[in-house]
Structures are given as structure tokens and as C-alpha cells.
């Protein structure tokens, strides 16, 4: 398959034409403005000082709940565990029907059918694929993994890029793999995971973002949650700047999903502040921003209860799944 044949809707021809050789891709990706580490971290730290209180905090908590990809990605996952997660995702607080549902249930591909059965079409079902989390398998296996998850009912696929190929400068290989997985997804939305903790530099994160968007990613995602560091505010800032600039360049809005290590409502609100002040209000929707998290939801619920009742309850007042 050539890159030209593989051109994806929404990616302008003049941009995907660069995807013809490693050298041409390198020239494009390395021609992006660099990211100054100190400056990017200072900007993220400044945005973390925003004070979100009262009515704006209520809005932010509900918005954050509606953006959660409620996740279980363990070797010990069982049908019972996945079903419990699904019912929690549908109705996060059984005592309060005004709490919005989460955005999606995120599981391994073999659990996708179970999840789909449990949530029907009321929630998205996201499945990790492509030899998650390491991505170390042949392309054929990755495509089969993807097709299998889609056949099982997943309407969102979270793929991992081949970090080895990326770090070795084989950008075309990474590009073509994303294009191929996107085709295997069919109608399912594709989230491309970079594992930014392995890419190490913000420059690499920016290049990976553009590479994935060139290849047709619907979402770009920081991490698998299996590598530390996972999502951090500055890494997410770099992703947000990339989708903002991509939109200005192409008119296409790509989503962003920080995943791993976001556990508190306070952190989640800081991410929303970053989205608002980097990309604008248009990105403040589950269609364009998600949190990949498991324990975050309970803290959001506890904070929400606190806003309503005026006092903190405790872990026994939210469901542990």
C-alpha cells in the first residue's frame, strides 16, 4: 500500500504528500517549531494556578465526568469486573440521577463484546489494540487485533505507535502503520497513543502529534498508563497546541486524551483550564477531549457531592469497582 492510496479523509492532499519517504517526513516534522522545555513547563504551571470555584467548579466537574473513558486494562479483568464498570459508567452515582454518564468504557479487545452488550448504544466502547501496551508485534497481528476489537463491538480503537520505529527515525513506517490501522477501524474512531514517557522530549511529542494527525488520527493520546511518567500537564499542553495548529492548518478538529496518573478532580479541572485557554471552548466536549482514567471518576463524584451537600463524605459513599 502506498501512502497516496492510503490518504485519509480530512487530511489535505498537500499534507499527506509529504508521507512518501522518511526523509520528506523528517523534513516536515523537524521543521516544526521546537518546544522550549522550561517555557512549556512554566506555561503549564501558570495555568495550574487558575482558581475554579463555585458555579464554575460545578460545571467543570460535570464536564469532566462526561469526558471520562472509564478504564480497566488488567490481566485479571473478568466479565464480572467489566460489567460492574459498565454499570458504573452508565450511572456513576446510583444515588443521584443528575450525574452525567461517562464518555466510554475502555477495555482490552476481548472484553469489547461484553462491554457492548452491557452498555448498548448508550456509551462508546473503546478497545485498546495493536499489541497494547508495548506495540511489539507484526503489522499483521496488529491489524488482526484491531479488526477483532471492532468486530466485537468497539466503536473506538486506542492504538499504540511503534516507539522503536519512531525513535529510530523510521517515520514512514509509523505513519503507514497508523494509516493501516485506521483502515482496519472502518467506522470506529481511532485514538493514537504515543507513550510520551518513552518519547522523552517535548520535541518528539510534537512531531508524533503531527505524524499521527497526518495519518488520520481522530484523537491523540499521551500514554498507555503502563509507563511512568504517563500524562503530565506540559505533555498535554504540547498535544493541545498541536491540535489547535492542525485545525488552523486544515480546518479539522482532532481530539486529545491524556491518560494515566490523573486521579484527582483538582488535576482534571487543571486539564480543562488548559484545554479552554489553549484550544478554546470548542474543544470542551467529550467529542474532542477525554480523560483516560479509572480512579479519577470517584474523586469527581466525591467533589460533586461536596458541592451539593457542603461537606465531604468518604470512600464508602462512592462505589468501588
Amino acid at each position: 500500500m502506498t501512502a497516496t492510496e492510503a490518504r485519509i479523509d480530512g487530511v489535505p492532499a498537500r499534507m499527506s504528500e509529504v508521507a512518501e519517504s522518511d526523509a520528506r517526513l523528517r523534513r516536515l516534522l523537524h521543521g516544526l517549531p521546537g518546544v522550549d522545555q522550561v517555557g512549556a513547563e512554566a506555561r503549564a504551571a501558570m495555568l495550574a494556578t487558575r482558581s475554579v470555584k463555585a458555579a464554575s467548579k460545578e460545571q467543570a466537574l460535570d464536564l469532566a465526568i462526561s469526558m471520562v473513558d472509564l478504564t480497566t486494562l488488567e490481566g485479571m479483568d473478568t466479565p464480572g469486573k467489566v460489567r460492574a464498570l459498565c454499570s458504573k459508567g452508565l450511572r456513576p452515582d446510583p444515588t443521584d440521577p443528575t450525574v452525567p454518564a461517562v464518555a466510554a468504557i475502555c477495555v482490552y479487545g476481548d472484553m469489547a463484546a461484553l462491554a457492548r452488550e452491557a452498555v448498548g448504544d448508550r456509551l462508546h466502547v473503546a478497545a485498546v489494540a495493536t499489541a497494547f501496551p508495548s506495540g511489539r508485534a507484526s503489522l499483521a497481528v496488529k491489524l488482526q487485533d484491531t479488526a477483532d476489537a471492532v468486530a466485537n463491538g468497539a466503536d473506538e480503537i486506542d492504538m499504540v505507535i511503534d516507539r522503536g520505529a519512531f525513535l529510530a527515525g523510521r517515520y514512514l513506517e509509523v505513519f503507514e502503520e497508523i494509516v493501516a490501522v485506521k483502515q482496519a477501524c472502518g467506522a470506529a474512531h481511532l485514538k493514537v497513543i504515543f507513550e510520551t514517557g518513552e518519547l522523552r522530549t517535548y520535541d518528539n511529542v510534537r512531531r508524533a502529534s503531527w505524524l499521527a494527525m497526518l495519518a488520520g488520527a481522530d484523537f491523540i493520546k499521551t500514554s498507555t498508563g503502563k509507563v511512568s511518567p504517563a500524562a503530565t500537564p506540559p505533555v498535554t499542553l504540547v498535544l493541545l497546541e498541536a491540535v489547535r495548529d492542525w485545525f488552523r492548518e486544515t480546518g479539522v478538529r482532532v481530539g486529545v486524551k491524556p491518560a494515566g496518573g490523573i486521579r484527582t478532580a483538582k488535576d482534571a479541572i487543571r486539564y480543562l483550564v488548559m484545554v479552554k485557554e489553549t484550544c478554546g471552548d470548542a474543544w470542551l466536549t467529550p467529542d474532542l477531549f477525554r480523560f483516560g482514567a479509572s480512579s479519577l471518576l470517584n474523586d469527581l463524584l466525591l467533589q460533586r457531592q461536596r458541592m451539593l451537600t457542603g461537606h465531604y463524605s468518604g470512600p464508602d459513599y462512592v462505589t468501588m469497582d
Binding site: 517549531p33 521546537g34 518546544v35 522550549d36 522550561v38 517555557g39 512549556a40 512554566a42 506555561r43 494556578t49 487558575r50 482558581s51 475554579v52 470555584k53 463555585a54 458555579a55 464554575s56 467548579k57 460545571q59 467543570a60 460535570d62 464536564l63 462526561s66 497546541e241 480543562l272 479552554k276 485557554e277 471552548d281 470542551l284 466536549t285
Partner: protein
């Protein structure tokens, strides 16, 4: 779903402003001999905050005599390690009272609480900590250990407590005693500092605070028993002071105006460069002597940078300085706003193109929206004169040589910024820019260990770092 920031005002109840203040002389607040008073006003609301004393020549004389006595009888006899203890104590007290000092600074100056809380007050404490460390190590600094004696210090209104710290900390560390005059419009944190000196049991007379306007400042710098004059403020007043001091044995350091160039190359980290440009000129409403008031951007990226800059400026939040989410506060005084308006009119008249962020200005108080002029040339007044407000003049360049030439083509020389991912070019630029401070891929970053000061009409002498000690030690014969 919408998500807006609700008002998040910092509480005013942490400050206790007295209805009126005397002068802090010889360790206590005293009534003036001459007796005139003036009001200090909250620039965000125009509400009077307190009545403050206008120190006359007799009051200044009394303060200088107190400083002289303290110098002779205690401070000059005290070992450096003992002076250090007081400086450490003051630094800790500033930290302990940081919330109160931040609110007070914001009320009196109009700057956003985020800046007074995160920049002014922590840096003021850091200056005392840093200089406390030098007090017993002066002989290793290379400027000798002979203090001047009595230092007369006059500071501006843009960073009231921080400028106080820049002046008092090195003076005391080097063994001088001081008489300090805060700016007429922002005396409150200096008066709170007087209370901190008392709390720290600083010997009476080592620090004296005299409030007042330019006449008080003149009386101080012209007082015959002042050994050292240190001034931060406008170039015009700096000239008057230098004339007044000429022919005397007084030491003098001046930190004056600036018209800094922030130079953005096409290989710069652009997102961070835009942040740096915003921070360079809109930090503290542009009331910064080293503000990056001229943006020199390489022509090949000029449109991209300007688009990004305008987009970013549209997210700045202007309003109540006490709100924790405010980015741009009030202009410090009606006079200053008039000065900004005059220069902005000159920019319009001379044909530059004006753009201002669309933000509603509060009805009361003194405000000015973040403003960018494009199509500016070196010949425009807004490219030559210090505006001291939130107004950026944008010029373009084609080659590094041209950038250096334009950056240096100003009577000032306080600071400059270079944005490039190419280290060799940054160093090449830094060796050619005639400015006391050059920032690489950042702007408006201060540290007590880094000397700060100007070239040309931006003044002479350094504050901070080892070099800053020379300003408070008699280095000649």
C-alpha cells in the same frame, strides 16, 4: 457544556490598613515635623486606602541623623554574621506575612494578585535570604569590606516591595544603614516592611522609611550627610539626581528606563516565544523598566507570530486585581494612564496600526487594554520612548545583523531577549547586544544571584549577584 471562571477574589481581610501613617524613623513611627499629608489610592477603584505623611526636609534630616547614629553606634560595629541574622529574620518574616503583603501590594499598586503572590513577594524574600548569605563573606566578593555609611534610596511604584528589597538587602548586608523613600503612589508595603523591621528587632535607625513625593526624594538625595544614593526610576529624574550628586563624595547607582527589544528568530520555539512576548510586555501592565516593549520579529515568521500573539492576548483576563484569575490589572495612576494615552495617540498619528484585545474595561479605576502596534519603524516615537504601559511596538528584521542594529539603536540599554533554538546564534547575538540583561528563550526572569542593571541611559551599577555588592561598598581608595 460551558465552563467559565467564577469570580475568585482573594480576601481583603488579611490586611489591616491604618487610617493614617507617620514616618518610620529610629525604630518607631513618628509624627512629621512639617506635617503635610497625602492619600494613597487603590488604582482599581479610586478608593482612598490611607493617609500618608509627606516628609519635609526637617523630617528627612531627622531620618538621616538616625541612620548616621545607628551606623556609628551599632551597625558598623556589628560582625557580618550578626547582620546576617537580622537579614534572615526579615526574609522569614516576609515569607510568613506573604499573603498579607501580596494583598497590600495589589491594593496599593493595582497589579494582579497572581503576580504579587507568585513573583513580587517570593522574590523580595529571596533577595533578603541571598544577601544574608553574603553579609559575613564580603571579603571573598572582591570589593573590600568598607561600607559607605548612610544610603539614601529612592524607589519606584512598579514593584514597591521588591524594589525595596533590591535596595535594602544589599545595603544592610554590606554594613550600611538606610533611609528609603517609597514611591508616592505605593507607600503601603514599605510601611508594612517598617513593621517587619520592628518585629525582627532590627536595631533602631538601621532602616528608616520616609514617605512623600519628588520633593522628599530630592531632600534625601541632596542631604549632605548621605554617603550613597541609589535610585530606580525614570531617566529624567535620574539625570537630576546625577546633577545633584555631582561634585560630592557620594556614591551613586541609577537604574533607569528601558526600551528593550525582544528578538524572535524564525527558528524560535514559537509557542514559548509568544508566551515570552506576552510576559515581556503585559506582565505588570507593562510597568516594568526592562519590559520587552519592542518586538523584533524575523519577517519570515512575522505573520504567524502576530496571529498567535493576538490570539493569545484575546485570552488575557483584565479586571479586578484581587481576583486570582486576573492577568492584567489596573494602571497605577491617572497620570501614568495619561502618559500611555499620549504615546498611543502619537503611534496613531505617525501611521502605525493599532490593535487592542477586546476586553471590557471596568468603569472605575484606571485601565488600559493590552495593545499592539504593527507597521512600526525605528523613527516612530512608540519605538523610541518608554511607554511604561501595556503597549507593544512590533518591528521586523531580515538578518541577524539587522536585528542587532535595530535592537541597539536606542538611547537605552537595560535588557533584551533572544528567541532561537540555535545556541550559537543566541551567543553571537548576546555578545553584540548592548544591554545589561539578555534573556535567551525567556523574558522578565529575575533571580537575586543574577546582576541587574543598564547600559547608556538605562543607568549604571548593578543590583543582585556578587557584582551588586559593589554598589554598597567603597571600592575606591
Amino acid at each position: 457544556m460551558t465552563f467559565d471562571y467564577a469570580p475568585a477574589p482573594e480576601s481583603r481581610s488579611v490586611v489591616d490598613i491604618a487610617p493614617s501613617y507617620g514616618l518610620f524613623i529610629d525604630g518607631e513611627f513618628v509624627d512629621p515635623i512639617d506635617g503635610a499629608t497625602f492619600k494613597t489610592v487603590n488604582p482599581a477603584t479610586e478608593e482612598a486606602l490611607a493617609e500618608v505623611t509627606e516628609a519635609g526636609p526637617l523630617d528627612v534630616d531627622r531620618a538621616v541623623r538616625a541612620a548616621r547614629t545607628a551606623y556609628r553606634t551599632t551597625w558598623s560595629r556589628m560582625p557580618g554574621s550578626e547582620r546576617a541574622k537580622y537579614l534572615y529574620r526579615i526574609a522569614r518574616l516576609i515569607q510568613e506575612r506573604s499573603r498579607e503583603l501580596a494583598v497590600l501590594e495589589t491594593l496599593d499598586n493595582g497589579k494582579p494578585i497572581r503576580e504579587s503572590r507568585d513573583v513580587d513577594i517570593p522574590l523580595a524574600a529571596a533577595h533578603f535570604f541571598y544577601h544574608a548569605g553574603w553579609a559575613d563573606k564580603l571579603e571573598y566578593a572582591g570589593y573590600g569590606t568598607r561600607a559607605y555609611g548612610v544610603a539614601g534610596q529612592v524607589i519606584p511604584w512598579n514593584f514597591p516591595l521588591l524594589m525595596l528589597a533590591w535596595k535594602i538587602a544589599p545595603a544592610l548586608a554590606c554594613g550600611n544603614t538606610v533611609v528609603l523613600k517609597p514611591a508616592e503612589t505605593t507607600p503601603l508595603t514599605a510601611l508594612a516592611f517598617a513593621d517587619i523591621c520592628r518585629q525582627a528587632d532590627l536595631p533602631p535607625g538601621v532602616v528608616n522609611i520616609v514617605t512623600g513625593d519628588g520633593a522628599t526624594g530630592r531632600a534625601l538625595v541632596e542631604h549632605p550627610d548621605v554617603d550613597k544614593v541609589a535610585f530606580t526610576g525614570s531617566t529624567e529624574v535620574g539625570r537630576q539626581i546625577q546633577r545633584a550628586v555631582a561634585g560630592t563624595r557620594k556614591g551613586l547607582t541609577l537604574e533607569l528606563g528601558g526600551k528593550a527589544a525582544n528578538i524572535v528568530f524564525d527558528d524560535a520555539p514559537l509557542d514559548e516565544a509568544v508566551e515570552g512576548v506576552v510576559n515581556g510586555i503585559f506582565f505588570n501592565q507593562g510597568h516594568v523598566c526592562c519590559a520587552g516593549s519592542r518586538l523584533l520579529v524575523q519577517e519570515s515568521v512575522a505573520d504567524e507570530v502576530l496571529d498567535a500573539l493576538k490570539r493569545r492576548l484575546s485570552t488575557l483576563r483584565l479586571g479586578d486585581p484581587l481576583d486570582k484569575n486576573t492577568d492584567v490589572g489596573a494602571i497605577n495612576s491617572a497620570e501614568q494612564r495619561a502618559r500611555i494615552e499620549e504615546l498611543v495617540r502619537a503611534g496613531d498619528d505617525e501611521g502605525a496600526e493599532r490593535w487592542s484585545a477586546a476586553c471590557a474595561l471596568p468603569e472605575r479605576g484606571w485601565w488600559f487594554p493590552p495593545t499592539v502596534f504593527t507597521g512600526v519603524t525605528q523613527a516612530h516615537r512608540i519605538a523610541r520612548e518608554e511607554i511604561f504601559g501595556p503597549v507593544l511596538a512590533v518591528l521586523t528584521f531580515r538578518t541577524p545583523d539587522e536585528a542587532v542594529e535595530k535592537a541597539n539603536n536606542t538611547p537605552f540599554g537595560l535588557s533584551a531577549g533572544v528567541w532561537s533554538e540555535k545556541g550559537s546564534r543566541t551567543l553571537w547575538m548576546a555578545s553584540r547586544l548592548r544591554a545589561g540583561v539578555i534573556w535567551a528563550n525567556t523574558f522578565n526572569r529575575f533571580d537575586p544571584a543574577a546582576p541587574f542593571g543598564g547600559y547608556k541611559e538605562s543607568g549604571f551599577g548593578r543590583e543582585g549577584g556578587r557584582q551588586g555588592l559593589a554598589a554598597y561598598l567603597r571600592t575606591e581608595g
